[in-house]
Assembly symmetry: C2
Homo-oligomer: 341 residues x 2
DNA sequence: TTGTATGCGTTATCAC
DNA sequence: GTGATAACGCATACAA
């Protein structure tokens, strides 16, 4: 910066003023300084700036997995909104490892990030503690996507999963399926999954019973879907349709169904959840429920920055609507691209 | 830090020494200070530390797309190696946008990162300039995966694409295909694509000619594969096999082939490149060529940190071997998981 | 072992 | 508009 000041024959703080677009500098010097900056290829030291100013324009984002196709769109929404408002994103991938999550949270704190958007697959004590402690220090924290309430310090963004699963289940019931199997998410000690309760509610509303054998524990990955589908198909009266907790598990289910010599959707219909990119390209194209990932990411960042600007903003809880996308895997009346209901 | 020092009744620099594991502190005070740090939930300010020490333990990583399933494994390799050596990663997603790439490069410079690992899909002038300028300032730069040489300042990590495409093409020739179509990567003004030249070389080695109509321009995405496959199948003598520039395009080709009422692999065999996760789960499972993404990421970070520790380390050019994975889409003799040749 | 002083590259607050 | 000066939170050299 000294070099720039010298070359432009002005003082250091004039250069600073130009960089930060402060008033009180003549247009002439402003342009001259800008030229010199470009010519010298000078980049201001953000570390020093943030240190002195006691604030940074970097926000942290922690996601549980970069391999899971669920997150890219979310991250894109987050990033775009951040950039639009002049912030940059420190993206951290915890690799589905709780320990790494905490490590990254600490790291971000040491980096004195302005705010945090965090997602996890396993809500445990260390995690909630870390988030709350950050929030308590005045760092705006947004938790996404989650159904957990984390005290009134932490903003929560989520899709209405329960309603999404009601839509998915209703779709299958409408098609006339009498025995629908559900691969449930991994059990969570805290509360019943809204995905499972949506499945049950859809049945209950029509006065239909769900026999327990039709609900098998599962997980988020392809292998989980394969295992759980195998269990469902081994029942003495196997289901004619399967609801999976997400698209990856749904793909696993489809693989297993075909392996066992049955057809999708003719013998067994399958419905997923998330609408990840591959759902449209898979064969059969996957009927699923779309979460507006991109908009959720955007909204998360918006909420965080709002809170940053005005710490008195209430820590809201924002719920997004989902959309059923009917494609071929459920045997609905469709083309490859599906249509929205 | 003052608070910690006061609470532990020691001086500030004793706290600093404890944090940085310096010698010259009694075990007793060391433990006491650690306790206080934990109790007060103190996190050292990395900005201040890096500013003072004139070096940081943060490295930058720029990838062109977080949506492309090609990069996650690469990033995991990069991150794991970084973490193993005590560095943390500032991950930037340029969203296939050249402007954003440059913006991020500048941002990382302002953050005074210790080193950089960068990938791009479009090597243009602004990009190479930015990388070289960074390298010239003494920041170790690794470019991955690339076939471009960027002067002897920049380390390059790449897979042997040409050889990979020779393997893919040989596989199809071995199966007896006489007319093989190739969806080529987007044209690059600088040089011929090694992927295309591998395809040609495999033919040449057997004294076979490739008629120009069998090579159609394409791209990296599903839609590109669909379009290009359509053109190949519309030929008066359509090919009996297609080689795609990557797995996404291969999936697009398969979709289009089925759409046109032909079967894969019975009517048209398809081979991809990359071995992304979905390749194994697709139907038909995709025959493809595996790049060791994870190891390439690891190696990239290793090379960068080696250079950081010893700036005299030569800027090598590291090439990785690829592996043909035969699955059902090529009609090779296989199960779903494929086997390695 | 511990304390004291100095500086990293900025921004902010003055008086000029 | 400009020029000095202090301060941000830490690391380091040196003296005690």
């Amino acid at each position: 910066m000294d070099d720039v000041a010298r070359a432009a024959r002005v003082s250091k703080q004039t250069v600073s003023a130009v960089i930060n677009n402060k008033s009180g500098i003549s247009e002439k010097t402003r342009i001259r300084v800008r030229e010199i900056i470009a010519r010298l290829d000078y980049q201001p030291n953000l570390l020093a700036g943030s240190l002195r100013a006691q604030r940074s324009f970097t926000v942290g984002v922690v996601i549980p997995s970069i391999t899971n196709p669920f997150y890219p769109e979310l991250v894109r929404g987050i990033e775009d909104e951040a950039q639009r408002q002049g912030y940059s994103v420190f993206l951290c991938n915890a690799d589905e490892n709780s320990e790494k999550e905490i490590q990254y949270l600490d790291l971000l704190r040491r980096h004195r990030i302005a705010g945090l958007v965090a997602a996890t697959i396993r809500v445990n004590k260390a995690w909630t503690e870390a988030l709350k402690s950050l929030a308590a220090q005045g760092v705006p924290v947004v938790f996404v996507p989650s159904t957990h309430k984390l005290g009134d310090q932490v903003i929560c963004i989520m899709a209405d999963d329960e309603e999404g699963f009601i839509k998915a289940t209703d779709h299958l019931l409408d098609l006339g399926h009498e025995r629908i199997g559900m691969i449930s998410p991994p059990p969570d000690s805290r509360k019943q999954s809204p995905r499972l309760s949506g499945f049950l509610k859809a049945h209950a509303r029509r006065g239909k019973k769900v026999t327990p054998e039709l609900i098998v524990p599962g997980g988020w990955h392809v292998a989980d879907g394969q295992q759980s589908a195998a269990r469902l198909l081994q029942l003495s009266r196997p289901p004619t349709a399967i609801v999976a907790p997400n698209d990856m598990a749904a793909i696993g289910a489809i693989i297993k169904i075909k392996e066992l010599g049955r057809r999708v959707p003719e013998d067994v219909a399958v419905v997923g959840y998330d609408n990840i990119a591959i759902a449209e390209w898979y064969d059969p194209a996957l009927t699923t429920v779309d979460q507006p990932h991109y908009r959720m990411g955007q909204r998360a960042m918006q909420a965080m920055l709002d809170r940053l600007k005005d710490p008195n903003e209430p820590a809201e809880m924002i719920k997004f609507d989902t959309t059923l996308i009917v494609r071929r895997s459920s045997g609905g009346p469709v083309g490859a691209k599906g249509y929205r209901l």
